[in-house]
Homo-oligomer: 373 residues x 2
Amino acid sequence: MAFGITPGTRIRKSPFFDATVAAGVTDLTVYNRMYMPTGFGDFEAEYRRLIETVALWDMAAERQVQVSGPDAARLVQMLMPRDISKMKVGQGRYALLNDVKGRLINDPVLLKLAEDRYWFSIADSDMEYWVGGIAAATGLDVDVSEPDVSPLAIQGPNAPAVVADLFGDWVHDLKYFAFRQADLDGIPLLVARSGWSKQPGFELYLMDGSRGTDLWNRVMSMGLPHGIGPGAPNVVERTEGDLLSWGADTRPDANVFELGMEAFVNLDMEPDFIGKAALRRIRDEGPKRRRVGLFIDPPSLNASEDNWPVCDGAGNTAGSVSIAVPSIRLERNIAIALVDAAHAAVGTRLVVDTPDGARDAMVTTLPFIQPGG
Amino acid sequence: MAFGITPGTRIRKSPFFDATVAAGVTDLTVYNRMYMPTGFGDFEAEYRRLIETVALWDMAAERQVQVSGPDAARLVQMLMPRDISKMKVGQGRYALLNDVKGRLINDPVLLKLAEDRYWFSIADSDMEYWVGGIAAATGLDVDVSEPDVSPLAIQGPNAPAVVADLFGDWVHDLKYFAFRQADLDGIPLLVARSGWSKQPGFELYLMDGSRGTDLWNRVMSMGLPHGIGPGAPNVVERTEGDLLSWGADTRPDANVFELGMEAFVNLDMEPDFIGKAALRRIRDEGPKRRRVGLFIDPPSLNASEDNWPVCDGAGNTAGSVSIAVPSIRLERNIAIALVDAAHAAVGTRLVVDTPDGARDAMVTTLPFIQPGG
């Protein structure tokens, strides 16, 4: 499909919007009611840049939900399926937020800014309302708000060198998801080791929306010797590396067991959290579906735009594809699918109903390519 | 700006998607993480159709949040700034949902399906999480979910004739926001008198997502003698008629007093609701800003894509434009703006900073055109 996107102020522009337009952005998506660049007109070059050198991405649509006040830690723990009592200021944690039915409703990164202040750096659903609704109903002494904070991602093998040139060698010592407050010629920001790729990467959390173009240009200048260029979250790289795309992979109702992400959920810890009882039930009964990898037979397919149906050899529905792409590094069609548990064993033969007709496929392990692979 | 929208399953397709593609949709927006058509390539013809005959709109992105169970009415009342105790099954109410700070966070229509079952037919923010979070925290005996329900709007002066041809003359007796369950050759739906235009109109709430193309085609066939054709929410008509666009007009933090919508909020009634205390404070202190109409001097402007700044004669910031368009019926530039209360009096001279340079403007009353005008 090829459609224009109608502009309007209901959908916000990122602080980096003008800079990405100047850099030649051609395609967008909408994420948290904000435009997010998805392409600059040369998909393969953007992929190579991410894998081989370094790319600069406008990730401002990854908005922050700030929880602050005396009861902030208590409220955050109500939402978090991991014990946060030992979390230190400057640390981050991958956070799988669940509703009372055990459905995964967002997969943010939780950042601890202070003993009484946290940010959820969110995927594409309005967690400000989830957190705010719970705060309103419990009457906890917290403030829930969206601060003026917009991540800019620097991703690729040369990202650490670029960020060290900008801020100093201390950035090499940051652990994954850890962050530190800094500034760049007076532009206030956090430097975090994170990003939505499986390549080495950092995110600069800009804390002054009026300085977006300044920050973009400074990073771009400093990165030139390292081969930096504009880019965006890359559907092929994320599929090869098995990065979860909330909404696309999770459907309206998948849970962490179906998604194979139960390692990030502690059902046996002391603190209670929303969804714990439902997830225990799901664990005890066993998940009904499984997130699996598929190799789909040649010839090369275009990236999927729909949840292609998946059947077993007898034509019975077995599930559907979350994303299918032609892998550039593996030179074959790969897919992530959600299939009935009965069809999830590695080596199972399945049939995918693509727009180009039925194709044989085989279940395989995820990820398709290991980090550094 | 002119950008392509990148397809992907994170953003859903409506049950009417294929039908709108067949009808020639060219432009889209994203609303509640669903594609929503915004244009079919001839803006003026689509406007004329809405004003003079009848248009068919895919409004599936206006998703439903269902609250059901023994405590459903109790939970709904916690959210609703109007007393719902006398509401009857089959009635609808415009619902201005507020957070604890008194900010307007959505402006759905509330439909009462049964004594223990309600739908919020929502604007573009995830009210399922707001309602679900409050339900989770209070422990009320309710289920919060998104049913398989997708509105299809029939808008324009000939809409009542089309809908009467489809369902019978009883549709003429439906009051505004009232609805009745019906079916069309076995397609289950609700017939509601509603729609996001100031023209006569109905919405058919399709209750089986697999029948979208069927329903679209049946309505299109029956409407042909009445001049029906494809269309979409129309930015000029909505500005002329002063329909609120949540997100665009409300910014992140406007309240019902600033928006001039306090008539839909009862701060003196017995039942408590979230935001009541904050809204009472705002009422007592007086709103800081006001939603006003502006006439902007010629020549004709393109529709605004940004919140153009508004200043007073001395160059001091006075507010900003929510939407500015060239009115087709009035043949002059009109705008809706949010300005400081000090600059809100009718007749106040202001200056708007447009992409074509500064333009003189004058505050006027809303709406620009009365229904039937």
